[in-house]
Symmetry: C2
Subunit: 442 residues, 2 copies
């Protein structure tokens, strides 16, 4: 009972520090408003590496260092243009190139359009019908899912695989409805994946805003032979050197047992990546900040990692695992925050039954903080490659309702993040790390 | 088990209809963007009565009617002005008159300022020090509370009682730090209560934005003898006739047992009252809309009430109870939504132990919808006066983190409400009403 009382007191202190003293919010302000977007290979990404390393050094951690990693450098080029030619009128739409897409021909692309709702529908059309056409993927996210990530998961194949599959059937371009549950005018980018298709066989892919998708669909029904024009000049340059940013507090009892917490420092180039994933980065840094402020000496080594290049390559996550394997590091725990800076609701956990059961015994400690979700499930892309024998992986699960309003779009900006929601997430992460440090994997 | 399965299926249908077909969001759009603010006695309030009555009629309810109620008519007048005279410079601040406040003298008020953090600190100063001064109440909301309503509750006495208590000690005016956890430039209004103090003894009270409060405090520390000027021309006119808007589906088995659901149709006059409480109104209407769409025939009478004048008098809530008593109505259940249109987290419940225990047995049915709070606590201001013998009262409890960012301020507008969060609240309300209709108070 003493222990339970101590833990209650510790969590209370953690939440108090997070809500009254943490730098998480001013850090995010700097990342978002002073540095801006942090697309891999961009000057923003480089500045963010320098900035976060400096801030970690100010925390008085035991070690702060960079891990070199080569990352792809995709650049958007000029503002994209799209319109439907309906008789003599040009009806414009807000589009953006999908990440990693190739450009259109220099003067753009003009072709008839076929609207489909799925990859299956595309395949059923076959080469004869698809050849020479622009394929318009227009399956909306399903609003019936309570958690929006499920709606995303059941929809995002259009974005990730649409260009590859349409290209294989002879299409000349792809337009994809944005992954957004709202009707608005923001196109949402995100990676499209050509896999091993030869460069000269790749077709350009762009996202259209949800309002635009609705309007385009309506116009195509009325004018099935209208041609769509779009133009984008994005390109993939040579890979460049970048970095994961790492800081740690060395464990007082088990310095070789590592508990890692992180988010990804890169972002897309629309907006400033405040939710995706500036929030996860500053929350992860805040975990170590809170431990330092409380003068908590962890038993195990607590390491924050800001991963580079989650969005279009996961090179940082892969490099981290590679170095960890090479150095024979023993990771006992990994926590990722990459679902936005919204009110935390709980944790998604990858663990064997005994560790999972142990974690659920801590539920009552989180009740005062309205943290209620403890379940097995997917965790994170950057900690995905880690494969220590008995590692427990966890993802922070914030409220998901607003995430796809902002995801990969120009409105993912600092003002969309609420200070308290961000801080409560950091406190929840620090609390779980504290409890695992005390009682985990014994 | 059959029943459990049926209930699961029914809740699934309720959430589906709410998320795919409900008019809650377009109704709120109309209330907020076509009608605007709905301060008691205003033209907006009158239009909102007509609009919501018409919309209820379109739902095909069994009865739709108005209840006459006389309400106070407080008007803000010209835009308020405030500045601190520091030597030859005038440092301006964003202020707004508190609701029900009296005006300053026509040419404004200029006086020295005493900053206090509490009513206790004010009283300790005594008449000698307070006389002729402007009292500046500057106790911030405490960020350590996890639920922001607790921070509000521990702070709002400055706004509700500050003018009365300072006036009794001879102060000439009151400036109150806005009830807002963020630092920003919006002053937040809300009622101040003079109780039975004679009209000519009442002193004017205004709210200052949180940024303004910080700045004023700093300047006063540097310039303790600087005088503050403020001017406001608000006044209370004659009471006017207004209405509660009522619609109902008559119970198929117990038409005389009434289950009421509601929010308040009036708002403050800054912003358009989208969260406070346009959201609660459209959610309450949506409960009946959902039942109609699902062709659900409730056993008990399900009644929606949009109460007038919650903000500055509760005349609608009192009138509803008066008529209910007069007509010997039997209310078995009352549900109020007046905490913003944010993601629902659960319910605050006033009930005897056996009813409370029964409601908590439904918890598992709500798990798929991430509804997890079922606890005894405060419910609502408008259903407060109801006093049927065994009535169960409930308040919807949405996530509270952002509520006071908008509460009673110019940024409480339609764009601050997320469609899905609003709809999930309506679905949660309808689900609880369905279960209570089936199994409650048997």
């Amino acid at each position: 009972m003493l222990s339970q009382t101590n833990d209650e007191a510790m969590l209370k202190q953690i939440y108090k520090v997070a809500l009254t003293e943490s730098k998480a919010y001013p850090w995010l302000d700097d990342l978002s408003n002073k540095i801006g977007h942090r697309l891999s290979g961009s000057s923003g990404a480089a500045k963010a590496v320098t900035y976060t390393k400096e801030q970690m050094e100010l925390l008085g951690l035991d070690k702060v260092y960079l891990q070199e990693v080569m990352v792809p450098q995709w650049v958007r080029g000029e503002k994209e243009v799209a319109y439907l030619q309906v008789e003599k009128q040009k009806k414009s739409f807000p589009i953006c190139a999908l990440g990693m897409s190739v450009a259109t021909p220099k003067n753009g692309l003009l072709a008839n359009v076929i609207e489909v709702k799925s990859l299956e529908e595309l395949k059923a059309l076959g080469t004869d019908k698809v050849k020479g056409k622009i394929i318009f993927f227009n399956r909306p996210m399903n609003p019936e899912f309570i958690e929006t990530f499920h709606a995303y998961g059941s929809c995002v194949d259009q974005r990730s695989s649409g260009a590859r599959e349409a290209g294989e059937l002879g299409a000349v371009g792809v337009i994809v409805r944005s992954m957004n549950l709202r009707l608005d005018d923001f196109p949402h980018t995100g990676s499209t994946n050509y896999k091993d298709i030869a460069m000269d066989k790749r077709i350009p892919a762009a996202a259209i805003s949800t309002n635009g998708a609705e309007e385009l669909s309506k116009l195509l029904t009325e004018n099935p032979n209208a041609k769509l024009y779009f133009k984008q000049s994005c390109q993939t340059l040579e890979d460049v050197l970048s970095y994961n940013v790492v800081g740690e507090i060395t464990g007082s009892e088990h310095p070789n047992k590592i508990m890692v917490v992180g988010g990804h420092l890169d972002s897309w180039d629309l907006g400033d990546g405040s939710h995706d994933d500036g929030a996860g980065c500053v929350q992860s840094m805040a975990v170590l900040e809170i431990f330092r402020k409380l003068n908590y000496k962890p038993k195990n080594t607590i390491r924050v990692v800001l991963f580079m290049n989650e969005e279009n390559g996961v090179k940082g996550g892969l490099k981290y695992e590679e170095l960890s394997s090479k150095n024979k590091e023993n990771h006992i725990f990994a926590l990722e925050s990459d679902s936005g800076g919204f009110t935390p609701r709980g944790f998604s956990i990858e663990a064997d039954d005994s560790n999972f059961d142990k974690i659920t015994t801590w539920k009552n400690l989180f009740e005062p903080y309205l943290i209620h979700i403890f379940r097995k499930g997917h965790t994170g892309v950057d900690i995905g490659p880690l494969k220590s024998e008995k590692i427990v992986k966890v993802a922070l699960q914030p409220d998901s309702q607003r995430y796809f309003d902002y995801h990969h779009a120009a409105n993912d900006t600092f003002d969309a993040v609420n200070k308290r929601e961000l801080e409560l997430g950091a406190a929840s992460m620090a609390s779980l790390m504290y409890l695992f440090d005390q009682y985990g994997l014994q």
